[in-house]
């Protein structure tokens, strides 16, 4: 499904190499977690995959089901099935959450050659999915993320993910700023979307999210590379010993 080969990325503005040869394959139906210390390039990887400006890919490839992601505009990547749950979801005053969601769903359907969802069908679906995430009708009416608490913002990301039904879900530190209950709610939302056709890349600092979203593979990222991969036990090792041991071992 998602195949990243030897990906090198530098910041456009400064001559600073952030990713220095990332290799990663996420198969459909699998959950991969990426852990790593601050500044290791985890968030950059998520931005590069979703097409944010400001990064130069100097070497390597990233494909989704064989399609070259790096050649696509962000909206084309979204239509192809990439979804990034933002670490800091953006507040957009003046744009209603519901209108935003509907525009996004229909834009993707259009890009894929499907007909638009009728207002009634859309409403039905969004209400059901919002309810599961304990998002009330009031929140749906408000402008996108404006005045939302940290937890509400993250739940809103998961709601978008549920509505857009992407193939490849990238979660960038979705656990940051969440209390235990909120994290459980978000994790349940994510788990409900797990299925054979869908891959997940879960970026996190802490093992605790992985208690709720059980990964198939855990990668450790450091200095722009994936330095170690393993099963869920790798996350526990990090939790107990920090990154120092692993980094020392790799070096």
């Amino acid at each position: 499904m998602l195949e990243i080969k030897n990906l090198h990325v530098k910041l456009e503005e400064e001559d600073k190499q952030i990713l220095k040869g990332v290799d990663l394959t996420v198969d459909a139906g699998k959950v991969h977690a990426i852990m790593g210390p601050n500044g290791s390039g985890k968030s950059t990887l998520s931005y590069v995959l979703s097409g944010r400006d400001g990064y130069d890919v100097t070497e390597g490839t990233a494909t989704l089901d064989g399609e070259d992601l790096l050649e696509m505009e962000p909206e084309e990547r979204a239509a192809a099935g990439v979804f990034l749950a933002f670490q800091y979801p953006v507040e957009i005053p003046g744009v209603g959450n519901m209108i935003f969601l509907r525009t996004a769903v229909n834009a993707q359907r259009k890009a894929r050659g499907q007909g638009e969802l009728s207002a009634t069908d859309f409403l039905k679906e969004v209400r059901a999915k919002a309810k599961a995430l304990k998002i009330d009708a009031e929140m749906l009416k408000r402008p996108v993320n404006v005045g939302f608490s940290g937890g509400e913002k993250k739940r809103n990301e998961i709601l978008q993910m549920a509505m857009l039904e992407p193939k490849m879900c990238i979660l960038d530190e979705t656990d940051s700023g969440l209390d235990v209950d909120a994290m459980k709610l978000v994790a349940e939302g994510v788990n409900a979307l797990r299925d054979e056709g869908r891959g997940f890349l879960v970026i996190t600092h802490y093992q605790r999210l992985l208690d709720h979203i059980k990964p198939d593979v855990v990668h450790i990222m450091a200095e722009g590379r994936i330095v170690k991969s393993g099963g869920p036990e790798l996350a526990l090792e990090v939790e107990h010993n920090g990154y120092a041991d692993i980094l020392a071992e790799v070096n």
Binding site: P74, V90, P93, F100, A104, A107, Q160
Partner: protein, 426 residues
């Protein structure tokens, strides 16, 4: 003080092309206005409040020609039940207008106020304009009072069941129209006045509004989107105790538009909101100049102006809140913002506060910026194409001004016009 020679020449050349209508009871007011105008002179680029807007084509003897804008788009406000008062190139058209009869309001043509002996209108004509000449001069408004060739007197005594809709049609490519309306809203009365249309190749409009204690006036205006028209409009509003004045203007294109508002809150607990949304493209110059004077206790004023500019368009905002001594508990708010969709467009803003009372809350802000790239990426990352995402953010930017319109149905019409403009890219 004598006028500079150049100014005097421009003024006299312009006056030479004008004839004062034979206007009976307004004659005195007109002659006084002409005298005021001769003392002030027509505006020039050197005047403090004309630095950002070139007045040349507004003061030239003849109106620069403007091609008629032919479109099959439905006319503005067509979806509303309203009392239509139509002017063609600045001349009242009884054929195209509805019968001017509606419960709660009396509408007369300006030329009839003398023979019908309509006291309030005779006494109001030119008065608020004259008062409004200080501290900042509005010479084009004085010219208007002196030479207005038509207009209506609207007397609101109740709560008419539908809006009064002033429609300005443009029919001749060289028309130079001067209209002057007077409006009196009696105590406890409430009315909505709509205005739309390009009016003429060059349009000078003055509206004097006197709102008595507890009266309410809603004003929603959509200026014609004809690309070549020019307009200088003036609204002078005097507000009594607990009166309400809410004015919103949508401007879409037009080569030159100068909208002046002079609001004086003279009764306690009055509320004045003046707002505008403008979208301009290319050879487009739009100027909002607003003066709000607080001269009573516990009044609220809001100025909310939003401009979207692209392809080298220019937007100007000059706004002042003057709080006079004794106007305690004033709540004054002013915001002017522009969204520049490219590097060629510009926004020039001059926000001013002048406060002589000590117990007031006044704030003002002015910003100029591009589309928020972070928000744009967020929308695109969800699959919304760049153009559509830009439009969503543009509309969101304008929303704060549109929200000043109290009537939701009217606000929706304005939003749909803005959406059309965005979709057309022109």
């Amino acid at each position: 003080m004598a006028l500079p020679q150049a100014k005097q020449t421009v003024t006299e050349e312009r006056l030479a092309s004008l004839t004062m209508p034979d206007a009976g009871c307004t004659r005195k007011a007109r002659e006084a206005a002409l005298e005021r105008l001769r003392q002030m002179g027509l505006p020039s680029r050197r005047d403090e409040y004309w630095k950002y807007t070139r007045p040349d084509t507004l003061v030239s003897p003849d109106a620069p020609p403007a091609a008629l804008f032919v479109t099959d788009e439905p006319t503005m406000f067509h979806e509303f039940d309203r009392l239509k008062v139509v002017f063609v190139d600045g001349v009242f058209s009884p054929e195209e207008s509805d019968e001017l009869s509606l419960e709660g309001v009396t509408i007369d043509r300006l030329e009839d106020i003398c023979c019908k002996d309509i006291h309030w209108a005779k006494e109001l004509y030119g008065v608020l304009e004259a008062n409004g000449q200080s501290p900042v001069q509005h010479p084009l408004a004085a010219l208007n009072t002196a030479f207005a060739s038509d207009g209506v007197a609207i007397h609101v005594t109740g709560k008419p069941s539908k809006p009064i809709s002033l429609i300005y049609r443009h029919a001749s490519e060289t028309s130079d129209a001067i209209l002057h309306h007077v409006v009196r809203v009696e105590s406890g009365a409430e009315v909505t006045i709509l205005e739309n249309g390009p009016a003429a190749s060059r349009f000078n409009k003055c509206m004097e509004i006197d709102i008595a204690d507890g009266g309410t006036l809603h004003h929603v205006r959509a200026q014609g989107r004809d690309h070549q028209r020019r307009a200088a409009t003036h609204m002078f509003t005097r507000m009594g105790q607990e009166s309400v004045y809410k004015s919103f203007t949508l401007t879409v294109n037009g080569v030159l538009t100068r909208n002046e508002q002079v609001v004086e809150l003279t009764g306690d607990d009055a509320v004045a909101h003046v707002a505008g949304a403008c979208v301009g493209d290319g050879e487009f110059h739009h100027d909002d100049t607003v003066f709000v004077t607080h001269d009573a206790v516990n009044c609220e004023s809001r100025q909310v102006f939003k401009k979207v500019l692209r392809n080298g368009a220019t937007g100007v905002f000059q706004g002042k809140i003057l709080v006079k001594e004794g106007a305690q508990k004033t709540d004054g708010y002013q915001i002017s913002q522009s969204l520049l969709l490219d590097d060629d467009s510009q926004f020039l803003a001059k926000p001013e506060l002048e406060i002589y009372a000590d117990d007031v809350a006044c704030s003002h802000g002015s910003t100029s910026g591009a589309i928020d790239e972070t928000a744009l990426f967020y929308l695109r990352s969800r699959g919304v194409p760049t153009r559509e995402a830009t439009d969503m953010l543009t509309l969101a930017f304008l929303a704060e001004a549109v929200e000043e319109i109290e009537d939701e149905a009217l606000a929706e019409v304005i939003v749909s016009r803005l959406q059309d403009w965005l979709a057309r890219r022109r």
